[in-house]
Symmetry: C2
Subunit: 198 residues, 2 copies
């Protein structure tokens, strides 16, 4: 039997990361979010901050940016190399053990694996604003701009590497509004779904 | 306390209508799908077939089609009049009793009502094809084309009257893949969510 895995995409401010962490704890399985960045850093020798940015975010201009110097590989940008390395790590984590993997196109990377539950967490702007100010300490004056910019970066990255639209229901088995269900409601619903996985 | 209502959008072939009907039976509440067409027909004097087409489907060319003759009202096309009438009927059904309402932009019409659970049901093409051939009797040779065309009409209609994208997770409280969860799994998950409504 393949390992049962949850991939969890999330809007910034939706509490998705916290939901993913709670899921992993309650199910007693591994949790991978920023841990993946450390693994890519170790394998590549690149800085953590660079990988964090490159591995999940992308501005439109990044797509056209050329790279040169010591990291130059003919035909492949450094961002693409990070992406390939990250993909391989995600695939090997799913092979290694049951786990929850946050973001990083994991739904797409593991799309041929039938023991994977793909989840997307979103919320209304007012709920995300409240959470981001309260828990992430983002200043109230700029919070909407930060939320929008972060998700735009995630959507552009996802589109670039999967060809799909980020946050469209069809890409996931389950999409949940965390403002509507609350964190506990989301965790409960996802656990029930996880238990049906083969 | 306001009536608790489920609005259910669905891809053609996803089994959404059957899920909605099962939900209504299990919850012991009213079910409105084609019943709405009969109500619009009664109020407007227009033919059922015309309302069925106009109330939920739209080709791109329809958006620009002018209308004239006995149904002509300055500034408002017949399609828009059907839409307004349908909106009013949906709003009054939600006021009258707890119920399940299928399609027809009901999520958007009732968006300011906090006692409404907005659900979207989708499935992979192979699951929809199987269901459409088996249960709806659509010929296997043309089934993919029929499924795609029907949903394109629904998406265009939804965009035209709500300004939103049909099937995008953010418009709904819960989006579920019926191929993944099966009809029973969908019904169970939606009932659990319905019970949390105020």
């Amino acid at each position: 039997m393949a390992n049962r895995v949850i991939t969890l995409g999330r809007e910034y401010g939706s509490g998705g990361r916290y939901i993913a962490e709670t899921l992993a704890k309650e199910l007693g399985i591994a949790f991978y979010d920023k841990e993946i960045i450390a693994m890519v850093a170790k394998e590549s020798g690149l800085a953590l901050e660079f990988i964090e940015d490159t591995g999940e975010y992308m501005s439109v201009s990044d797509q056209f940016a050329g790279l040169s110097g010591e990291y130059y590989t003919p035909g492949m940008s450094i961002a693409d190399q990070v992406h390939v390395l990250q993909n391989n790590i995600i695939a090997s984590l799913a092979e290694k053990e049951p786990c929850v993997i946050v973001g990083r196109c994991a739904d797409y990377i593991l799309k041929d694996n039938e023991s994977v539950l793909d989840v997307f967490i979103h919320a209304d702007m007012k709920d995300k604003v409240e959470r981001a100010v309260k828990y992430y300490g983002i200043p109230a004056e700029t919070v909407e701009k930060t939320l929008t910019k972060t998700d735009k970066g995630r959507a552009t990255h996802y589109k670039h590497y999967t060809g799909q639209t980020w946050g469209i229901a069809q890409n996931y088995d389950l999409c949940i509004d965390s403002g509507f269900f609350g964190v506990d409601g989301c965790v409960e619903t996802i656990i029930a779904a996880y238990k049906t996985l083969k």
